[in-house]
């Protein structure tokens, strides 16, 4: 009798646990994992809105082709936020409630990502690899920090490292910086301020407005100030114009750039004036010899896409997809949002087929990489000239 009661009890407990365990996670079925991506498809950064998800899908399709993750294929839904934070939140709510996505991935832009924080908190849904290098993404004093896993080295760290590099090259260097007067620039300045404190110097700071096309004033001021190293906190157009303007003034400092300037279009646009330009980057180049980059080129060529799409941003989508897939793999067969967060926290010194310097997260660490390589333009070709610098 007692044994029967015991068995019955065991059975009931098992049933209860079984049911609890099998509570369905949104976006996860036996054959599919649905993830949500919010890109800028029709706003100021729309050229990236296509390149990033295309790169991600290259890797997802590759993984799906190999049988998926624990038997589940990855499917990505893309929404358009037009670089409008408000629309980003609306899209996020739509993705969570209507499409029922499992997690967010690669949402582009600092302010859209920042605006998502209350939503992430509300639904307890993780955001993996936001497509921005702002150091604020891994700032633990901000709301909902535990749901954001930032992969890239922050702009502040990069600026810091670049100032160090300048002083390493030349002990008497005078450093200047041209920064965009917005959230991007603010983050760059934060890093500069830290470096100033450490070296006990002042860096000459010149601001420009987002969308500016004339930098004669800023370059002239730097020339007058006698800066020998100029850090450009721009994107693609700004470094080109700055370097050409400086050349026209016969002013030849060493130009250094924050990672968004590491695009090969800068090399193409700046031509011979861009010779010797050194940009920081938080990962290996798409045309380098590491295994991840080789795989990328192979998959890209097999996809039959217009070769113009190939490049840094397309590869960025690809490599962050590797991070997400790694997290999903580690989260195991029984996939939950909390499980993904725990699994991501378990990633330590993981280099993504040689692409990253070694990504580490932890229960109180959301910054993936904290180092950069320097990429120099020599003879019109971008080459890595340093090891990982921290």
């Amino acid at each position: 009798m007692k044994i029967r009661n015991f068995l019955l009890l065991t059975f009931l407990v098992a049933l209860f646990l079984g049911c609890a365990g099998r509570e369905p996670t949104p976006g996860v079925t036996d054959s599919e994992i649905l993830i949500g991506n919010i890109q800028d498809l029709s706003g100021p950064m729309k050229e990236l809105g296509m390149a990033l998800p295309h790169g991600s899908n290259l890797y997802f399709n590759y993984i799906n082709g190999k049988g998926g993750i624990h038997g589940r294929k990855i499917k990505m839904v893309i929404e358009d936020h037009q670089y409008n934070p408000q629309k980003a939140v609306a899209s996020a709510k739509k993705l969570v409630e209507q499409d029922q996505v499992f997690c967010f991935y690669q949402v582009i832009g600092t302010s859209p990502c920042e605006a998502l924080r209350p939503t992430l908190e509300e639904y307890k849904i993780p955001l993996i690899a936001p497509a921005t290098q702002s150091g604020t993404m891994s700032d633990r004093s901000r709301r909902g920090w535990e749901y954001i896993f930032h992969t890239d080295t922050g702009y502040d760290k990069q600026a810091n490292i670049l100032v160090d590099y300048a002083y390493e090259q030349n002990g008497d260097a005078k450093v200047g910086v041209i920064y965009q007067d917005d959230d991007y620039g603010a983050n760059v300045l934060k890093g500069i301020a830290e470096a100033e404190k450490r070296h006990g110097v002042t860096v000459q700071k010149e601001a420009y407005q987002r969308g500016a096309t004339d930098f004669a004033g800023q370059v002239m001021n730097l020339l007058k100030g006698g800066a020998t190293h100029v850090i450009i906190g721009g994107v693609v157009r700004e470094p080109i114009i700055v370097m050409k303007t400086a050349a026209a003034m016969s002013y030849a400092p060493q130009f250094l750039g924050i990672s968004p300037t590491m695009d090969h279009r800068v090399v193409l646009g700046a031509g011979k004036e861009g010779e010797g330009f050194i940009a920081a980057n938080f990962a290996q180049l798409y045309n380098s010899d590491v295994e991840g980059a080789k795989l990328y080129r192979e998959l890209f060529e097999n996809s039959g896409t217009d070769p113009k799409v190939m490049g840094m941003y397309n590869f960025y989508g690809f490599m962050t997809a590797m991070v997400l897939v790694e997290g999903l793999e580690r989260a195991g067969k029984r996939l939950t949002r909390a499980g993904l967060i725990r699994a991501m926290e378990g990633i330590k010194d993981w280099d993504g087929k040689g692409v990253f310097p070694g990504i580490s997260y932890g229960p109180s660490d959301r910054a993936g990489t904290e180092s950069v390589v320097l990429v120099a333009t020599r003879g019109g070709i971008q080459q890595i000239i340093s090891d990982w610098i921290e």
Binding site: P85, Q86, E97, D181
Partner: protein, 343 residues
């Protein structure tokens, strides 16, 4: 003696309130993703408050403003700083912030005493840019362009923490603003505004103090924008300069034009219509289009907005509210409708 508001029909208030209360329950009954729809409606509600203010300024008084996103931003940031950094209670900020924004309205309104038309449009547009620069410059409080996290609204000890409660908070103000604005516009003030719009000289000859009323129009309009800003900051919970760009100001102009300028109801219809179009209908349309043609560059949004404005200005200059008025007259006269009037 005839009372002051005797010719204003007030019977619509009760059904309006009932409708506003019923809508979230209806949505929740119909769909699981009600929070998403409520979020969109909340945005529509906030913009409605602002559009009513813009209607008072542009529709009633005939002073164009292309800088209302600036007032919204000032309202939002002022309240965020007051509540989160100075420790002012949210309830008090609901009163102080609109007044501060209203004072900004007076400053901007000052040049309006001398200039009008396109020049005023440019001046106010300049104000929109200045407001953004000001926010970036006042880094110590606003964190510059990095954006500011804002706390939840707390009123009488109750915290509005989700879209559901926010809806009731926002729409209480929407209804109040519509009722008050409608009544004020039917009073001496409203008549003075319309007189200024129709002819400044005639108005002045009839004893309307131009300086006073023009400044009052700007003040009232900015107060409402400030109120919208307070609600915006605390219900969106994150504000940045990216929220308040020049396009948003143009968006507000589209709202009152499409809704029908100079009627308050038009501003309400217009803002709800445009927000729903922008957040729900156009994305749905895009998804539907994507089934047939591959649209890589999704620029349909601006195309559709442009087209709508274009069509409304040509065929329905009185906007959505004008359409409604025509329908109403049609029914009243039915079946004796003079055909020509309604084609």
């Amino acid at each position: 003696m005839k009372s002051r508001y005797a010719d204003e029909n007030l019977s619509w208030i009760a059904p309006l309130v009932l409708l506003v209360i019923a809508i979230p329950f209806l949505i929740r009954g119909v769909t699981f993703s009600y929070k998403y729809y409520l979020y969109v409606l909340n945005i529509a509600g906030i913009y409605t408050i602002l559009a009513v203010g813009l209607d008072i300024l542009s529709g009633y008084t005939g002073l164009i403003s292309l800088g209302h996103a600036g007032f919204l931003a000032i309202g939002a940031y002022t309240s965020a700083v007051l509540v989160d950094q100075a420790g002012v209670p949210f309830g008090l900020s609901l009163i102080i912030t609109p007044i501060i924004t209203g004072l900004f309205g007076l400053v901007v309104g000052f040049p309006a005493l001398r200039i009008s038309g396109m020049y005023l449009g440019l001046t106010t547009m300049g104000f929109g840019f200045i407001a953004r620069r000001l926010i970036i410059a006042l880094r110590a409080w606003t964190e510059g362009s990095a954006g500011l996290e804002v706390s939840n609204p707390v009123l009488f000890g109750f915290e509005f923490a989700n879209d559901w409660t926010n809806y009731f908070l926002i729409f209480t103000f929407v209804v109040a603003v519509i009722v008050v604005a409608r009544r004020v516009m039917n009073s001496k003030i409203g008549r003075a505004f319309m007189a200024i719009r129709d002819s400044e000289r005639a108005a002045e000859a009839a004893g309307v103090n131009l300086t006073r009323y023009k400044l009052l129009a700007f003040f009232m309009s900015a107060v409402l924008a400030g109120l919208a800003g307070v609600l915006f900051a605390h219900t969106m919970r994150f504000i940045s300069t990216d929220h308040f760009d020049i396009l948003l100001s143009i968006y507000f102009i589209i709202m009152i034009l499409v809704g029908g300028a100079g009627s308050i109801y038009g501003a309400v219809l217009g803002s709800v219509f445009i927000v729903l179009l922008d957040f729900l209908l156009i994305p749905a349309f895009k998804d539907w289009m994507a089934l047939f043609v591959a649209i890589e560059v999704a620029d349909i949004q601006s195309l559709i907005f442009g087209l709508i404005m274009f069509l409304f200005i040509i065929f329905q200059p009185m906007g959505l509210y004008g359409v409604w008025l025509k329908i109403r007259i049609y029914w009243k006269l039915f079946p004796f409708n003079p055909k020509k009037r309604f084609t």
